[in-house]
C-alpha cells in the first residue's frame, strides 16, 4: 500500500489503518454483489433486450427501435397507460382517507390499541387474498356489493365484468390496504405532534378544519411525504390485484403497464421478451421520475445533517 507520509509507527496501528480503508468495501461486498447481479445489471439488460425481437429461447434479432415504434401504434398500450394514470390519481385518495381514520382513532379510550391494529389488518394480508376477498365481494349473483346495488337499482352491477367500471373496482380493492398503510403512518406522526402547540392554537381560537390545516398538518409533513412516496410507487407497481381479479379483462380493459408487460413476455399470448422489455422500460422511465424526486429530497436531507 502506498502511504505518502508513512509514519514510522509500529506495525499494529498501521495494519489497523489499512484495515479501516479496506473494511467498508469488505462489509459492502456480499450485499452489493447480490444487488448488482439481481437488480442493477438486469435493469441495463432489459433496456438492451428492448431493442431485440426475442422469444426467450432462440437467437435474438436486432430490431432497433421497432418495439418502441410498435408501442406507439398499440391500443392495448394506451389502455394500460391510461389505466396507470387512473390508478395514480385515485390511489392518492388513500392519503386523505388514511388521515381521516388516523384522526378518528387518535384517542385514548379503552381498547383503542386493538382497534388500531384491527384497522391495520388489510395491509398485513397478501394482495392475492385481498383480490380474492374483493372478487367475492363483487361477485354477480351473490356478492355483497352486487346485492347492495341490486337493492338500489333492481338489476345489480357486475363491476368486474364491465369494461367501464372494472378498473375502478380493482382500485377500490387496492385502496383498502393502502388506506390502512397511510393510516398507520399518520397515527405514528400524530404521536409526535406537540401538545403545547395544539394548546396554544386552541387559545388563539383555532378549531376543526383550521386547526387541522394550519397546526396539525404542517407537523405531519414527514408522514405525508412518506405516504405520498409509498402510494405513488404502490399505484405504479400494481400487478397482483389486476392479475388475481381480472387477468387484465374484460377485453383487456383493466390492463396496466406492469400487467401488459407480463402478458406480452410470459403468458400464453406469446413470449415476446423484446416487446415486453420495451413496455417495462417505459414503466421504469415513468417511475424514475418519482424515484429521482425522492432521492433528491433524501440527498438534501443528508447534506443538512
Amino acid at each position: 500500500m502506498s502511504e505518502p507520509h508513512a509514519e514510522t509507527g509500529t506495525p499494529a496501528p498501521r495494519r489497523r489503518r489499512l484495515n479501516r480503508k479496506l473494511a467498508p468495501w469488505l462489509f459492502l461486498a456480499p450485499g452489493a454483489l447480490m444487488f448488482l447481479i439481481y437488480v442493477l445489471i438486469p435493469i441495463v439488460e432489459s433496456m438492451w433486450i428492448s431493442f431485440f425481437q426475442w422469444d426467450g429461447l432462440s437467437a435474438k434479432t436486432w430490431v432497433g427501435l421497432s418495439n418502441y415504434l410498435e408501442l406507439l401504434d398499440d391500443d392495448a398500450f394506451y389502455t394500460s397507460l391510461k389505466n396507470n394514470v387512473i390508478w395514480l390519481v385515485l390511489y392518492m385518495l388513500a392519503i386523505p382517507f388514511g388521515l381521516f381514520i388516523a384522526l378518528f382513532l387518535n384517542q385514548t379510550v379503552r381498547g383503542i390499541r386493538i382497534y388500531k391494529s384491527l384497522f391495520f389488518f388489510p395491509f398485513v394480508i397478501s394482495q392475492v387474498v385481498v383480490g380474492l376477498i374483493f372478487s367475492w365481494f363483487y361477485a354477480p349473483g351473490f356478492g355483497l356489493f352486487f346485492e347492495l346495488t341490486k337493492w338500489l337499482d333492481g338489476t345489480g352491477i357486475a363491476i368486474l365484468a364491465n369494461p367501464n367500471t372494472v378498473t375502478y373496482g380493482i382500485i377500490a380493492a387496492g385502496l383498502w390496504p393502502q388506506i390502512a398503510y397511510c393510516m398507520i403512518l399518520y397515527l405514528t406522526g400524530l404521536n409526535a405532534v406537540a401538545p403545547d402547540q395544539i394548546e396554544a392554537a386552541r387559545l388563539d381560537g383555532a378549531k376543526g378544519i383550521k386547526m387541522l390545516w394550519y397546526v396539525v398538518l404542517p407537523q405531519l409533513r414527514p408522514a405525508t411525504f412518506i405516504a405520498v412516496v409509498v402510494t405513488v410507487i404502490g399505484a405504479l407497481r400494481s400487478f397482483d390485484l389486476v392479475s388475481i381479479m381480472t387477468d387484465g379483462g374484460p377485453f383487456g380493459s383493466s390492463r396496466v403497464l406492469s400487467y401488459y408487460m407480463y402478458e406480452q413476455a410470459l403468458s400464453e399470448y406469446g413470449y415476446r421478451m423484446g416487446y415486453g422489455a420495451a413496455i417495462a422500460v417505459v414503466l421504469f422511465a415513468i417511475m424514475m421520475i418519482f424515484i429521482s424526486g425522492f432521492i433528491w429530497k433524501m440527498w438534501r436531507d443528508e447534506r443538512g445533517l
Partner: protein
C-alpha cells in the same frame, strides 16, 4: 374528534364515539368478515343460495377439505421454505452493508446508498426477463433456492436503507472509543454494533417476512408447480380449480393470511416501528 381528547367532550359525544368505533370497524372489515363467515359455511348453504344468512351449521370441515383435496400443505410449506431463509439472508447482508455505509466515510458512500434505495423502488417488470433468464441459466428455475436468492438480493435494498439509518443514529462516541482502545473493525461490528441494533433486526425481520410471504409476482415468474410454488401463487391456481366453491376459496384465503397476521400481532410494536421509519422526524 381529533386533537381534542374525547374525555374533555360532553358525555353524549363520548358515548357516540364509543358506539361509532365498533360500527366503523365492522364496516371497514366487512369484506373480510364476509369471507371469514363463508369459510365456515357448509357448501349446501351456498348451493341453496344462503350466502348471507346464518350458516345452517358451522362447517369447520372446510378447512380440512382444503388440505385433503389439494396440495395446500405443500404450498404453505414452500412459503416457509422461501420466506425464512430470505429473511435471514437479507437481514444478514444488510447488517453488513448498513454498517459499512453508516460508519465509514469514503468516496461514493452516499451514491452507493442511494443506488440501494432507488433499486428497491424499481418496477419488478424491468427485472423480470433478465432475472428469469439468469435463474434458468443457473439451473435454479422452478426451485425454492432460485426464488429465495432473488428475494434476498432485492430485499437487501430496503434493508440497507433501514439498517444504515438505524446504525447512523447510534452514538458515534461508542465506535470512536472502541477504536482508541484498539478494537478491530470486525470486532466493533460484531460486539458493539450488532447487539445495539437488535430492535432494528426484529423490526426488519417481521417486515421482510410479511413482504416475502405475500409476494405473488416472483412466485409466478420463477416457479411453476405445487412442488415449489408458495401459497400466494398456489391459492390463485386453486381458485381456478375450485370454481364457485367459495367456502374452500375463503378457507384457503384465511389460512394463507394467518402467518403474516400472527407475525404482526406478536411483533406489532416492531412491525409498526419498521414501517413508519422516517414518518416522524
Amino acid at each position: 374528534m381529533f386533537p381534542k381528547p374525547i374525555q374533555s367532550m360532553s358525555p353524549a359525544a363520548r358515548l357516540t364515539y364509543q358506539v361509532l368505533l365498533p360500527v366503523m370497524l365492522v364496516l371497514w372489515l366487512l369484506p373480510l368478515l364476509g369471507v371469514a363467515v363463508t369459510s365456515i359455511r357448509p357448501s349446501s348453504d351456498l348451493a341453496q343460495g344462503n350466502y348471507f344468512g346464518v350458516p345452517s351449521y358451522l362447517a369447520f370441515s372446510n378447512y380440512l377439505d382444503v388440505f385433503k383435496n389439494s396440495p395446500f400443505a405443500s404450498y404453505m410449506l414452500n412459503s416457509f421454505k422461501v420466506t425464512i431463509p430470505t429473511v435471514i439472508g437479507a437481514v444478514a447482508l444488510s447488517c453488513l452493508t448498513g454498517f459499512a455505509l453508516a460508519v465509514y466515510k469514503f468516496k461514493g458512500n452516499l451514491l452507493i446508498f442511494f443506488i440501494f434505495v432507488a433499486g428497491n423502488f424499481v418496477p419488478f417488470q424491468i427485472l423480470m426477463v433478465p432475472v428469469r433468464d439468469l435463474t434458468v441459466k443457473m439451473g435454479l428455475y422452478d426451485t425454492i433456492t432460485g426464488l429465495a436468492l432473488f428475494h434476498v438480493a432485492f430485499q437487501t435494498g430496503f434493508c440497507t436503507l433501514f439498517m444504515r439509518n438505524f446504525i447512523k443514529a447510534l452514538p458515534k462516541e461508542l465506535i470512536e472509543a472502541a477504536r482508541v482502545e484498539g478494537v478491530g473493525e470486525w470486532q466493533i461490528f460484531w460486539h458493539i454494533v450488532l447487539p445495539l441494533v437488535r430492535p432494528a433486526i426484529a423490526a426488519l425481520s417481521v417486515l421482510i417476512f410479511t413482504f416475502i410471504w405475500n409476494d405473488y409476482f416472483w412466485a409466478t415468474v420463477l416457479t411453476t408447480g405445487a412442488d415449489t410454488q408458495p401459497i400466494t401463487a398456489g391459492l390463485q391456481s386453486l381458485n381456478g380449480q375450485w370454481v364457485a366453491a367459495w367456502q374452500l376459496v375463503s378457507a384457503g384465503s384465511i389460512l394463507a393470511a394467518l402467518p403474516p397476521v400472527a407475525m404482526f400481532f406478536l411483533m406489532q410494536k416492531h412491525f409498526i416501528a419498521g414501517l413508519t421509519l422516517g414518518a416522524v422526524k
